[in-house]
Symmetry: C2
Subunit: 378 residues, 2 copies
């Protein structure tokens, strides 16, 4: 479904601006007039970010006690379960890229160079929550491999998550940069919000579908997905010595982009292509997940909403059930709503970005990453 992944979000670019020169190191190339953002810049940013964050991450993981290190290296995709080295499979590391790109946007290459530990800390927090979420959600597969709990058991997956959280905050505590304490405060606040978001998610999944409101689903999605993307951008701004207003604007940028991402991800979760996403289309419906398009559909007051509620009240049966359910979500307006909402969130993200980083040239890297996350599943 290329048109969803590529076309769902209409980014508002400032008109009349000259071809952009992006601030990120190594991406100072001129764009051809009329060249659209095609994910190429984002790919460069992500790969440059990995190149600088991976050594930080690997050295941090090396400092873990042996038992925790083994589980963490497996989870990061750097080792097999038996401890032998594995081909790198550690995900795209979008959050560290946001830290480094935000630092570059507001403070240039010096800020970027200073923010390496903060970038690693954010990625460690992200992975600590993945380890724990997989235990809670009983998800047996992540990045095409068995999850840590499926391999090492619940206790070790919980402990490895605990150790990664400690390691993340240790990196910041040991960082002599003047922004490190403020960064640690923001990152721990973010962890508490992530916990709240995951709690709301699991609690909502236990409630009858018709009792869940769209507002609380959006709040949950912002806490669960937007908060850490916002925090990543805010940490980059802090390490650039930015003013409070800019830090907050970049936090809001990341949150709105994160919500846009979640909306698109939910659409892909219903109608997406499993070859591209690693997630079978319809899996969320089969699990009767209260994803954003589904809740929008259920609360639409349409006849299709009633049909959907009936389908969701019974367990998943077969492929035909899945198709009927997807059609009901669509007829109740869930798909259109999610796409419009995603575009709206991206527009808000762009506004916040322009507030924090008025020069289009400097903002280009963050724009490219936001476009990237709203088109692909992490």
């Amino acid at each position: 479904m290329t048109e969803i992944r590529r076309g769902a979000v209409a980014t508002r670019r400032p008109t009349g601006t000259p071809p952009e020169r992006h601030g990120a190191i190594g991406t100072q190339r001129e764009k051809e007039p009329g060249e659209s953002s095609d994910g190429h810049e984002a790919a460069i940013l992500l790969s440059e970010s990995r190149a600088s964050v991976d050594p930080e991450l690997r050295s941090a993981l090396a400092s873990l006690p042996e038992s925790m290190r083994r589980i963490a290296l497996y989870h990061f995709g750097w080792q097999h379960a038996d401890g032998t080295p594995a081909a790198d499979n550690a995900g795209k590391a979008i959050r560290p890229a946001l830290v480094l790109t935000a630092a570059t946007a507001l403070g240039g290459s010096a800020a970027r160079a200073a923010a390496g530990r903060a970038a690693a800390a954010v990625e460690l927090v992200h992975n600590f929550t993945l380890l724990h979420d997989d235990v809670m959600d009983r998800d047996a597969t992540r990045r095409h491999r068995p999850t840590a709990w499926a391999v090492f058991g619940d206790a070790d997956a919980i402990l490895a998550g605990d150790a990664l959280q400690a390691l993340a905050l240790r990196l910041l505590a040991a960082d002599p940069h003047p922004a490190s304490a403020a960064a640690a405060i923001r990152l721990s606040d973010c962890v508490m919000e992530l916990c709240e978001g995951q709690h709301a998610d699991t609690a909502m999944e236990r409630r009858p579908p018709t009792e869940v409101t769209l507002d609380e689903t959006l709040v949950m999605a912002e806490a669960k997905t937007g908060a850490l993307l916002g925090c990543a951008c805010a940490l980059g701004a802090l390490y650039a010595g930015a003013a409070t207003e800019e830090v907050e604007a970049l936090d809001a940028f990341g949150r709105q982009a994160g919500l846009a991402f979640q909306l698109i991800d939910d659409v892909i979760g219903i109608w997406g292509d499993p070859r591209h996403t690693g997630k079978p289309a319809g899996a969320d419906l089969a699990a009767r997940k209260k994803s954003l398009p589904v809740v929008a559909a259920l609360t639409s007051g349409t006849p299709a909403a009633a049909e959907l509620a009936e389908l969701y009240a019974a367990p998943y049966e077969d492929q035909e059930d899945l198709e009927r359910t997807a059609l009901a979500v669509e007829r109740a307006g869930g798909r259109d709503w999610a796409q419009a909402q995603a575009a709206d969130r991206m527009a808000r993200a762009m506004q916040e970005l322009a507030r924090a980083v008025p020069e289009p040239e400097a903002a280009g890297g963050l724009l490219a990453l936001a476009e990237f996350v709203t088109r692909r599943s992490t």
Copy 2:
């Protein structure tokens, strides 16, 4: 079994020293010549510590997101499961008392006053590990109440633990004291060691009893119990501006006292009085736990060791089985070993204490707390 809880540890007091005047605030009373330490001073220290740490803790917990706050307040014994206030049941808070008493010993009342957040942070970390350990160990009761996972489910207990860890490190990140970053580094290192200790514990419980060595059991006990007591003392020293050598000596003091505590606690777990400990005598044996006296007995090479191995190879049957098992541990020398080892660890703790705090007067508070923990179960 009063003689175990009171008499197991023969503390080496410096001879010829004058009656002690303890440094802790509010406990500057002269000891009568020949008066033994009877837990009275420790009780005063603990109650004074609670009085200063509880407001810090309550204000920290109040800052949690609502869902996490509810679970945390239940776990701390300050609320019932329905959110109504409960009679205080939050445990003795020995770790914050160690932070404050160590700060007092090395830096007087100014250091004590400055170390309030660090004391609260240590207690938050302790409680985060309790929340998670209870999930992993499937322990359904703590402090005579159902555990958090038994009331709120595994997911919420895991999340509340995660949030408490974040809150602990946030307290230190927001603390303007010059020692706060060093304290955060020590506390996160300690969390990683606690994780390693809990991992070793759960891994050992899955192995055949005869394959577990005494050395690895001691290392596990030090990581699981000694590390946080040592860290508490070290944080107090850091907040007193102590030199590295004093900080390390107080860490070692706490670790050795923690090991002594664990040894005594294990003895109580086999032969103790349930009315005093809240833990039925023999529960550890019934669960075939590889506690320190049991591993000492199993590795003793005595005929009783073989008998014990045979008993441990089969599941628990009845009270008679329990009595035979306890007798086998005793005849294999497990009880004597544990008591001698506890006394030895306490002697080492006293040596470290004397290195860090040479004046008996200033060291008195920490000595009283060490004696307290090695006589009672927390």
